[in-house]
Amino acid sequence: MDSNLVLQAQNGDEHAFAELAYAMGSRLFAVAHRILRDVDLAEEATQQTIVDIWRELPTLRQAERFESWAFRMIVNACYRETRRARRLKARVHLLADREPERDPARRVADRDELERAFRRLPAEQRAVLVLQYHLGLSMDGIADHLRISPGTVRSRIHHAKRALRAAIEADARSVGQRQRA
């Protein structure tokens, strides 16, 4: 990311900021979509993050850390969206996730199970998985982006993976039982 562009935007240059927004918009959205697993929520988080970035940009101390700072903001926006969606879900009693399809291909079943299990993960655990697998960040990189300790990152990843794996294996066992029956 062009540091001069960031500095100009910090000084209130809206044109410079628009360039930044278009350059970063899709990357922010991609992260949000993977964490939230919902296009509407991801768009909402992205739009709000762009506004937040504009508002808070003067407080950014190092222009060269803009990208990391922006990713932290989108992750925080995702946390907020998750909480908001949870409240909404409680109020309107959204239908439960659909039943697992009787698909002969295990991969599809696994993916569906992953999808359901992933949605059940806390947003904090989803975020570290997205930063690891989508952005390709190391543990330390994730810690730096999110301003949490590397130990916390490891812990979140560990628990997230364990939950996802358990969900897949539980699904596999239930499918096996159904087939035997």
């Binding site: 900021f17 918009g25 959205f29 993977r34 992205t46 762009i50 407080t59 992953l114 794996r165």
Partner: protein, 285 residues
Amino acid sequence: MNEPTFERLLEAFVDDGLLSVDPRVVERALAEVHTTPQRRRSVAPLRRVIMQLRLVPVLTILATLLALTLVGGVALTNLEPGPTTGPTPSPSQSYFPGNSEPTPFVSTKFRVPIRLELPNYGEGPIDPQDVMLGKVPWVIDDQPWLLSITAPEPDTDRLTIMRRADARLIGDAGEIPWPGDIAAWLTTQQGVSPMTANQGLPSDSPLQSGVMFGLDPTARSVGRTIIGTAEGDALALSGGPSTILVMELSDGLSEPLIVVISGAQSAWDSWLGSMNEIVASIEGA
């Protein structure tokens, strides 16, 4: 499912998703930006200058050095010798150079009360305030009153005298509890030369049996004269225009130390005479 399979599945799953945002999302955000003020920093201009000039590392280093200096200063201040742990000598009347009145008996850790009659070699009244440690005007200004006196004999102990910051060497001899329970009295005379000749006690001195005086010629060459004894009982240090004498009395009862600073040959002679009286006092106690 084995670990590699799970990892591949998880990676594919997490990485699967939309990659491009609908441009209208950005446009809506920018429309909102147009009416949203930026948060201003309270020290924005200064900070911006610092950031733009890449001064952060320099300032960090400077701040670290400053912090270390402060911490070091505090630590050194705390290293100042504190008051003696021994019994506090009883207050006495002030002694003043040019005054030949004997000091009262001073009670220190010594079980033998010591009576000092300090020599009169002052040429005029000296403000007692100037005789505070650290601001003795006629002693070398740049020589701190932190004396390290090493006995010339290899078998003797190294004796380090450290002043208490607020210790007064003249004026109130009884309030000079130096660390190590050294009672000190200091007399000085401005503008006199250090001792240059060997000195010895009179043959009939009461000190004779236990203490032998003598100047160390090697020490004199560096501006200090150390008087040692075969038993390490007495030490003297001369520095600049004044002389500091440290004497350890072997009275068989205790090991008192007396510090006297003088500058003149006559003072030295007087001091020796005084010491005779001291010893006499001790022996008479």
